[in-house]
C-alpha cells in the first residue's frame, strides 16, 4: 500500500508547484497591466512629455498636454473596467454553457443590451445614466435567456454549434430591429454607429461613476461563483450528484455575467470577442480551475482591451479605430483558430 502514499505525495507537490506557477503568472500579468496603463496615458494623437504627465496625474489641467492626458485617464479607467468585466463575463459564460465558443458578442447578448438602450432612447426618451444601465442589463438578460433556451432545444442540449448559431441569428435579428427603431428618428440616427460597434473614446468620469455599483455587484457575484462553475464543468448530472443545485448555480453565475455585460455595453456599446479570447489564453497558462481562471480573465481582459485601445490609437493616427473593431479583427481569427483545434463531429 506504500504505492498510494507516494502518488498522493507527488500530487500534493505538483499542486503546490502549480499554485506557485499560477501566482507567478498572476504577478506577471499585473506588471503587464501596469505597463499598459502607463502606455495608455502617454500614447495618443498628441505627444506629451513627463512633466505634463505627472502634473496631470496630480490633477492639473493647465497646459494642452495636461488636458490631453486628463482626457486619457478616464478613458484608460473605462478600458480597464470594461476589459475586466468582459473578460470575466466571457469566462463565466463559457463555464455556464460548457461551451468553449461562448462570448457575449457571439451569443448576441451585447446586441440585446444595445437594442434595449436604443429602443429606450427612441421610444421612451430615456436619458439618465441609470436608465441606460438598467435597460441594458434587462436587454442583456432577456437575450441571454432567449439564446440559451433556443440553443439547447433538441438532441445534445446546448452544443457549441447550436448556441453559436442561435446567437448569430439572434444578433442579426436584433441588429435589424435596432436599425428599424433608429431609422425614423433622424435626431438620434447619427449615433447609430456607436450602438453597432463599441468603443471607449469620449469617456468621462460622469459616465463611468454611475455604472460602478453595477460592475462591483457583477464582479462580486461572478468571483464568488468560481466553485459552482468548477462543479458545473463536470456536467449537469455529475454536478447534481455532488450536491450542487445546478439550476440555481447556473442562474447565479449568469446573473453576474449579465450584470457585467449589460453595464459595460450601456457605457461602451457592444464589444465582441474579448470574452472569447481572454479565457482561452488564460486557460493555456493556468488550467481550468475557475478559482484561478476568473481573476485571471478579469486582469487579462483589462490588459487586452487596453492593448486593443492603444493599438487603435496608434495604427490610425490622427484618427483612431474603435476598440470594438480592433477586438473583432483580432478576435475573429482567434475564434477560427479555436474552432480548427477542436474535434467536431460531422453535422
Amino acid at each position: 500500500m506504500t504505492g498510494i502514499h507516494e502518488t498522493s505525495d507527488r500530487r500534493w507537490v505538483s499542486a503546490a508547484r502549480s499554485n506557485r506557477v499560477r501566482s507567478l503568472w498572476f504577478a506577471g500579468l499585473i506588471v503587464v497591466l501596469a505597463l499598459l496603463l502607463a502606455l495608455s496615458v502617454t500614447i495618443g494623437t498628441r505627444n506629451v512629455d513627463w512633466s505634463d504627465i505627472s502634473a496631470a496625474l496630480g490633477g492639473m489641467q493647465d497646459t494642452i498636454g495636461q488636458a490631453a492626458i486628463a482626457l486619457r485617464i478616464p478613458r484608460t479607467v473605462l478600458a480597464l473596467l470594461a476589459g475586466a468585466s468582459l473578460g470575466l463575463a466571457g469566462a463565466i459564460m463559457q463555464g455556464v454553457t460548457r461551451n468553449p465558443l461562448a462570448d457575449p458578442g457571439i451569443l448576441g447578448v451585447n446586441m440585446g443590451a444595445s437594442l434595449a438602450v436604443v429602443t429606450g432612447v427612441a421610444w421612451f426618451g430615456m436619458s439618465s445614466a441609470h436608465a441606460y444601465i438598467w435597460t441594458a442589463i434587462a436587454g442583456a438578460g432577456c437575450t441571454a435567456v432567449f439564446v440559451y433556451t433556443i440553443g439547447s432545444l433538441g438532441r445534445g442540449g446546448a452544443t457549441p454549434l447550436k448556441l453559436a448559431l442561435a446567437g448569430a441569428a439572434t444578433s442579426i435579428a436584433l441588429a435589424s430591429l435596432a436599425i428599424a427603431v433608429v431609422l425614423p428618428r433622424g435626431d438620434i440616427a447619427g449615433g447609430i454607429q456607436s450602438w453597432q460597434i463599441g468603443g471607449v473614446g469620449g469617456a468621462t468620469y460622469g459616465r463611468i461613476v454611475p455604472v460602478m455599483p453595477f460592475l462591483a455587484a457583477g464582479f462580486a457575484i461572478s468571483l464568488l461563483s468560481a466553485r459552482k462553475l468548477n462543479s458545473l464543468a463536470l456536467g449537469d448530472e455529475l454536478a447534481a450528484g455532488l450536491g450542487e443545485r445546478v439550476a440555481v448555480a447556473r442562474a447565479i453565475a449568469s446573473l453576474g455575467a449579465i450584470l457585467l455585460c449589460g453595464a459595460t455595453t450601456a457605457v461602451c456599446g457592444p464589444i465582441s470577442f474579448l470574452g472569447l479570447v481572454v479565457p482561452h489564453l488564460c486557460r493555456t497558462l493556468i488550467g481550468v480551475d475557475y478559482r484561478w481562471l476568473l481573476p485571471f480573465s478579469a486582469v487579462g481582459g483589462a490588459g487586452l482591451l487596453l492593448g486593443a485601445d492603444i493599438l487603435g490609437r496608434i495604427v490610425a493616427r490622427p484618427g483612431e479605430i474603435d476598440v470594438g473593431i480592433v477586438t473583432a479583427l483580432i478576435g475573429a481569427p482567434f475564434f477560427i483558430w479555436i474552432v480548427r483545434r477542436q474535434r467536431v463531429r460531422e453535422l
Binding site: 465558443l101 458578442g105 457571439i106 433556443i150 440553443g151 439547447s152 432545444l153 433538441g154 438532441r155 457549441p160 454549434l161 447550436k162 453559436a164 448559431l165 442561435a166 448569430a168 441569428a169 439572434t170 442579426i172 435579428a173 436584433l174 441588429a175 435589424s176 430591429l177 436599425i179 428599424a180 431609422l183 425614423p184 433622424g186 440616427a189 447619427g190 447609430i192 454607429q193 453597432q196 460597434i197 465582441s272 470577442f273 484618427g319 479605430i321 474603435d322 470594438g324 473593431i325 473583432a328 479583427l329 478576435g331 475573429a332 481569427p333 475564434f335 477560427i336 474552432v339 480548427r340 477542436q342 467536431v344 463531429r345 460531422e346 453535422l347
Partner: protein, 346 residues
Amino acid sequence: MTELAPTVDLIINSRRRRAGRHAVLLALLIAVVLALFGITLSVGQSFTPPVEVIRVLIGQDLPGTSFTVAQLRLPRAVLSILAGMCFGLGGVAFQVMLRNPLASPDIIGITSGAGAAAVFAIVVLSMTGPMVSILAVAAGLCVAVLVYGLSFRNGIAGTRLILVGIGMSAMLQSVIAYILSSAPAWSLQEAMRWLTGSVNGAQLSQALPLFLALVLFGGLLLSRTRDLEALQLGDDTAAALGVRVATTRMLIIVCAVGMIATATAVTGPIAFVAFLAGPIAARIVRGNGSLLLPSALVGAILVLAGDYVGQLLLPSRYPVGVVTGALGAPYLIFLIVRVNRTGGSL
C-alpha cells in the same frame, strides 16, 4: 412475375403524383410572383390602372405615368425579383449542402465579404457600376475559399464550416462598420443599404449583372440538382452513391456565392432572404421534389413583398432589408426552435 407488375405501377404512379404536385406548386409560386409584380407596378403612392401599366411596358409614352412606372417602380420591381431569386437560390444551395437550414451564406460570411468589398469599392475607391459587382463576387469567393479552407481537416465537417463562417462574418461586419464610420459624409440611406440591404434608387442598368449571374450560376446549380439531393443524405452516403463530394461541394459553393455576391453588390445584403427562402420553400413543397426553384421564387416574393410593405404599408419608409430583418426575426426563431427540437434538416 405478374404479381410484380402491379406493385411497380404503384411506384410509378406515386412518383408521377409527386412530380405533378411539384409542378403545380411551382406554377402557384410563379403566379404569386407575377401578381406581386403587377401590384407593385400599379399600386404605389398613386394608383396606376393596369391597362396603363401595360401600355407603358410595351413602350408607349404616357407623360407622368411613364416616369412613375418605368423609372421608379419598374426598376425596383425587376431588381427585387432578380435579387430575391439570387439570394433564395444561393441560400438554399448552402443550406441543403450543409444539411442545416441555419447554415446560410448570411451567417457564414459570404454576404459580409461581398458587402465589405462593395463598401470598400464605393467609399474608398469611388468605383461604381459593374466593377463593384465583380469585386464583390471576387471577395465573396475569397471568403468562401477561406472559410472552406480553414475548416478543412481531413474532410469538411459542416459544424466547423459554420463556426468558421460565423467568425469570418463578425470580422467582416466590423470592417464594414469601420469603413462606413470613417466616411462622415456618407448619407444614412447609403449606410442602411450596406448594413441591411435596400432597393431604393434602383436603376434598370443594374439588372443586367444580376440577370447574367442568375442565368449562368443558377443554371449551373440547377444542373446539379440530383447531386445536391444525394448530398442531403450525408457525405458518406452521397459518396457511396457515386457523387464526387468535394468537387460537387466546390461547384455548389462557387455558384451560390456568385449569385449572392452579385446581388449583394447591387442591393446590399438584404437581411434574411437567403436565410428564410429555403425553409419557407421546404414547408410549401413538403417533400415533393427539389427545393431549388421554389426557393428562388420564394426569395423573389420575400423581396418584392418586403419592399412593398416597407415603402407603403408602414408609418415610416423603411428599406426592404429592415422589413425582412425585423419581420423575419419571429419566423427565424420559430425555425430555430423547430430545427433544434426535431434535429431536422432541409
